[in-house]
Amino acid sequence: MDNTHIKNKKLLMTRTGAEREKQQSAEKAGKPITKRVRITITLTLFWFMLCGTGSVTPAEEWKQAVTPWQWVFPRDHGQHPEYRTEWWYFTGNLSDSQKRRYGYQLTFFRQAIASSPLRPHNPWSVRDVYLAHFALTDVSGKHFRHYDRSSRTGPGLAGADKDSMNVWTLNWSARMKKNGIHLEARQGDATLKLELRPRKPIVFHGEKGRSRKGPQEGQSSYYYSLTDLETTGTIKTPWSREEIRVEGTSWFDHEFGSNQLTRDQVGWDWFGLHLSDGRDLMVYFLRKSDGSIEAASSGTIIEKDGTTQHLNAADIRMDVLDRWTSPRSGAKYPSTWQLRIPAARIDITLAPLVTDQELTTTASTGITYWEGAVAGHGTSEERDVAVEGYMELTGYAGSLGGVF
């Protein structure tokens, strides 16, 4: 997808880690916090765990993201154990030689339970728990499959290196070798084996990668992205007989911090889009429990040359053109959207590539949401463009506000 050139503008999107419940009420009046629900879903379990026990290290003992980070690579691709939460996040749009389109998602989360294990000599003694999500979308076959798993560090079962990117949860892994990132995942009939090479420099969010999330000093995280990764490799879907050679574009985020979530939102609608004229677009709307849209909802345009342009909520107009009701959960999701950003002269229509890309994680987290590959068309700076990317819709199968 060489048409998705990205300008280096800052993407104003913030994420939060887990936080203790008692601090939440203090936060309510403060600046609303935005986040990507796919992370919070997985972390819910551990956020509760932290609330449920006093034996675990209290939040104060964790390092807070209060000062600008001195970035050193490849060291900072590795883990930062002094911070409580950390994730490595990959999504991508792929196609094979017959131009059949696919989408994938591979995510690793590290959640610390305690600042140190009780018995350091015993590898089973818990400090961090690693969680991971893996999803594949087969656009032409209209198939979607997702998996999730978790593991403690154990005797080499999961973990992340400290000096470079090498993160794994059982046999799902992301490893950086010679400037390329190697992704591997296998579960059931689905496998993924990709090599990702960055075509753009690293994009730091917030103040040199310190991304603020709330009014208080510590409510921040460190956050950078590789937005344009040339991707080649093979995948095997549950519906294909053999491995498929694919190529395409991937997106990588890495973020770490020690802060917690808020609970005053119902759900989120999030878009990460590649326009065929080379612009990338990220739009993020937070729906509040009173029906209003969070003022901090925002977006970013990354221009073809890599420059970025911040968008406020007021700059973005989103209209739902059609909806889809899940036969499993009964949730009614918006499916077709019209997205207009007059300031950037963007007017596009979007629809899912596969209608049903709903994740029902009853076996693990119990939260149901929609996340998947989307495509559309429209105009960008008065020229016709095609659009491709990922969309995430949460809080439709029951409000998340109470849960979070």
Binding site: T53, S55, R152
Partner: protein
């Protein structure tokens, strides 16, 4: 209801006491079978359920051939493409305060929830924060466990409670349901390692495999990979001999039951002869009479059987516990759930009762079919004819005995053939009883005459005269007593053999940690070795390994120590056999030798950590520890083969002449106490083994009691019928001037006479039975030789039972006579 049928069934009401006895007899016979079947079924299904439940979704298991496995291989397993999911498990036992052992599973909840989602200890987002907190505690809090509901109820614990165990206090975090009913504790694998002192080790890894063939090619050497089907089969096969024994026991009970029904049906026919004659004279068809009688015995079968079903169910609740203990003692931990009540039990009982009634009533029915109405009406019992018939029957009996013995000799085909032989043998003996009674007649007359004078003489005459009835009663009673003697003598001989065996092998002065749930740390072994002056220390290790797809035991010992201090019972040779063991050969148990037909001087091939290894068989020794076969080797050989350094127990040997003997013993004790290791003297250990032995025969003993109870009802019913039949005679005796007490003596002596004859016959039959059980059944099903030790106890015990039963059975008629004697007249009914 047809009047004909009514005329028959009215008897049941008219002779209520007799009917009750008959019903109880059938009920007890059926109860024995139902109880045994239900509890055996329950034990086996509980076992299968426990295996299934803990299996979860896993398809295979990988483990070391012996001993635990290093956890570092998990990382390799994780990357194996054939594996869909895996879960490491530490599977051990802890002893709780009551002395029971409870299974403790150490698991990793993250990995395990894929393999065993139904355990449900991992919380999900919908759960309360308390449950999530519990999960974090499970991961973070040492010594914390989740406890299975049943065990929690049994111990009366709830979240927050503390369970004291042999490994220290455990904290209960929460409860979880376990449909298999097996008492279970779950612990985080890391905490379990710390608790059990097994850092870096797991017992096995449960796998969900996608590609078994591929996986096996990569992991064949040094590991044992079993599919769950194989594993279950292996485990179930371990129970097969045990199960067979249970089946045989319940069949024995049924055999006695059928015999009793035959007995009672025969009496029924005898007492209906005259009525049948009248009915025939009135123009009733033969088949109508037969049908009416059939109805009567079927009614008995149905009602008695239904009652037996209920009793059997109650019995099974008791037996299930016994069975669980026995299986736990002998094989693996099992606490079977008591069988659930179902109305089908009553139906099955009725069905069984009917079947037994038909079987038992077959011959009596023939009798009725052949009834001569003229004879029946005239009341001529044609005693000469009966005697002639008795000889015919005896002849048939001898043929059947011969057949039984022939089958016993053919038991090498299958042990069932042996059992069939025993049954047929007993049947044959029962048929010969009538003839024996005739032969014994004069002697009995002499005995009873000297016991009770004229009434005694008449009593003996009565037994002889009513041969048709008495011989049936005597044979039924004899069979039951013979069973009692046979089982008793067999158990006694086994016990004696065990005592002998213990004195050959367990000759240590002290034994440290002989309990299955504990281990001796290797450094303690070295510490004890270093004590100067000790004669020898034997580090004992026993593991289950797979040999030719079955489970056998491998035992590691110190050959030189045992050579010096023990006197093994060798099939051939003496203690010089140890020389070979010291240089790498093995010795095998008799059960191994018989089961796998492996002879002295040949070889066995065991899967070791470095692949298969062929070992020379030096000698064969007598052993009763396992019927599945045992291979014993020196510790050096064992370590080379399995690299498993676990030690289960230490045997301490001190030369008897050592002047510092007491001092040394005290020193060893002191050091063991410091480590918290249990210490047993030789006598204590042997006592424990005997207790174990006795508890394993609890089921057999209860079946023996059942047989006697059934027999008691049988003999009582038989005697009662006899006396009721002869009420007219009592009138005659009264007319002749017999006093009430003389009649009482006569009745008593008649009962006693039958008891004595039954007992005498049963001593011979019982001894024969014991020898058959020892030489054929045990050898065939357990592959070991029990030496026959004659003992008086079973005979005395059974004799006492016979005495009590026969006297007890005579008491009711005596009471009845005392009450009605003054009114008795010589009159026809």
């Amino acid at each position: 209801m047809r009047v004909v049928t009514k005329s028959f069934l009215r008897y049941l009401l008219k002779r209520r006491s007799l009917s009750v006895l008959q019903l109880l007899g059938i009920a007890c016979g059926v109860a024995a079978v139902v109880g045994m079947t239900l509890s055996a079924g329950s034990a086996l299904s509980s076992f299968a359920q426990a295996v299934e439940f803990l299996r979860g979704k896993s398809t295979h298991v990988i483990e070391r051939p012996a001993g635990p496995m290093e956890e570092k291989i998990l990382k390799n397993l994780m990357n194996d493409p054939a594996i869909e999911a895996f879960s490491p498990v530490l599977d051990r036992q802890v002893r709780i305060e009551s002395g029971d052992t409870v299974r403790l599973l150490g698991i990793d909840p993250f990995l395990d929830r894929v393999v065993r989602p139904e355990l449900g200890y991992t919380p999900s987002a919908g759960d309360s924060s308390g449950r999530l907190g519990q999960f974090v505690d499970f991961l973070r809090k040492e010594r914390s466990v989740l406890i299975e509901n049943g065990l929690a109820a049994q111990l009366g614990v709830q979240p927050g409670s503390i369970i004291p165990t042999s490994k220290g206090d455990l904290y209960v975090l929460g409860l979880f349901p376990n449909p298999s009913g097996e008492p279970l504790l779950l612990m985080d694998i890391g905490h379990a390692q710390e608790l059990l002192g097994l850092s870096g080790q797991v017992d096995r890894v449960d796998l969900i495999l996608r590609d078994e063939t591929g996986f096996r090619t990569r992991w064949s050497e040094g590991y044992r990979i079993q599919s769950h089907r194989q594993r279950k089969e292996t485990l179930v096969a371990m129970l097969s001999a045990f199960r067979l024994n249970l089946e045989a026991l319940s069949l024995l009970a049924l055999f006695v039951g059928v015999f009793l029904i035959y007995n009672t049906s025969m009496f029924a026919v005898v007492s209906r002869r005259r009525d049948a004659g009248i009915l025939r004279s009135l123009g009733t068809y033969r088949k109508e009479i037969v049908l009416a009688f059939l109805m009567e015995i079927m009614l008995f079968g149905i009602v008695g059987g239904a009652l037996g079903g209920v009793l059997g169910y109650l019995l099974s609740r008791f037996l299930t516990g016994l069975l669980g203990n026995t299986i736990t003692n002998l094989y693996f931990f099992l606490r079977p759930a008591a069988p659930a009540w179902s109305n089908w039990i009553v139906l099955a009982g009725s069905f069984l009762g009917c079947g037994a009634s038909l079987l038992g009533g077959f011959l009596p029915l023939q009798e009725l079919v052949r009834l001569d109405p003229v004879e029946a009406l005239s009341g001529r019992a044609a005693s000469r004819k009966a005697e002639k018939k008795t000889w015919h029957v005896a002849l048939v009996g001898f043929c059947i005995i011969a057949l039984g013995i022939a089958l016993l000799l053919m038991s090498f085909v299958h042990v069932y053939v042996g059992f069939a032989g025993i049954f047929i043998f007993l049947l044959g003996i029962a048929l010969v009883t009538g003839a024996l009674l005739i032969l014994i007649g004069p002697a009995l007359k002499w005995v009873l005459y000297h016991l009770g004078g004229l009434p005694g003489k008449i009593a003996a005459g009565n037994i002889r005269r009513n041969l048709g009835r008495t011989s049936v009663a005597v044979s039924a009673f004899m069979v039951a007593l013979a069973l009692s003697i046979g089982l008793g003598a067999m158990i006694g001989s086994f016990r004696q053999s065990l005592l002998w065996w213990m004195n050959t092998q367990l000759r240590g002065d002290l034994y440290i940690s002989t309990i299955t749930d504990t281990q001796v740390p290797e450094d303690f072994y070295r510490e004890v070795l270093a004590i100067p002056g000790l004669g020898g220390v034997d580090p004992f290790r026993n593991v289950q390994v797979t040999y030719k797809d079955t489970q056998i035991s491998v035992t590691s010992v110190d050959a030189s120590v045992l050579q010096r201090y023990t006197r093994f019972g060798w099939l051939r040779g003496g203690n010089e056999n140890w020389d070979g063991v010291k240089s790498g050969a093995v010795i095998i148990s008799e059960s191994f030798f018989r089961r796998f037909k492996v002879k002295e001087g040949s070889t066995v091939t065991l899967e070791g950590i470095n692949g298969p290894e062929t070992l020379k068989v030096q000698a064969v020794f007598y052993d009763y520890t396992t019927e599945h076969g045992l291979v014993m080797m020196d510790r050096a050989t064992y370590l080379r083969l399995y690299n498993d350094r676990t030690i289960n127990s230490l045997g301490i040997f001190i030369d008897p002449g050592n002047p510092r003997r007491q001092e040394l013993l005290e020193e060893v004790r002191r050091r063991a106490r410091l480590r918290g290791l249990p210490i047993l003297t030789r006598n204590q250990l042997q006592g424990n083994i005997l207790t174990l032995f006795d508890s394993t025969f609890a089921v057999t003993r209860s079946m023996r009691v059942m047989a006697i109870v059934v027999a008691f009802f049988g003999i009582s019913g038989a005697l009662l019928t006899l006396f009721i039949e002869r009420r007219r005679d009592f009138g005659i005796y009264r007319a002749l001037g017999f006093s009430t007490s003389q009649i009482a003596v006569m009745t008593l002596l008649e009962g006693l006479g039958m008891g004595i004859v039954s007992f005498l016959l049963s001593t011979v039959t019982g001894t024969a039975l014991a020898i058959m059980l020892i030489k054929v059944i045990n050898l065939r099903s357990f592959n070991w030789t029990i030496f026959y030790y004659p003992a008086w106890q079973p005979y005395v015990l059974t004799g006492a039972v016979a005495l009590c039963a026969s006297i007890g059975a005579a008491l009711y008629p005596i009471w009845k006579v005392r009450r009605t004697y003054p009114q008795m007249q010589i009159r026809e009914e």
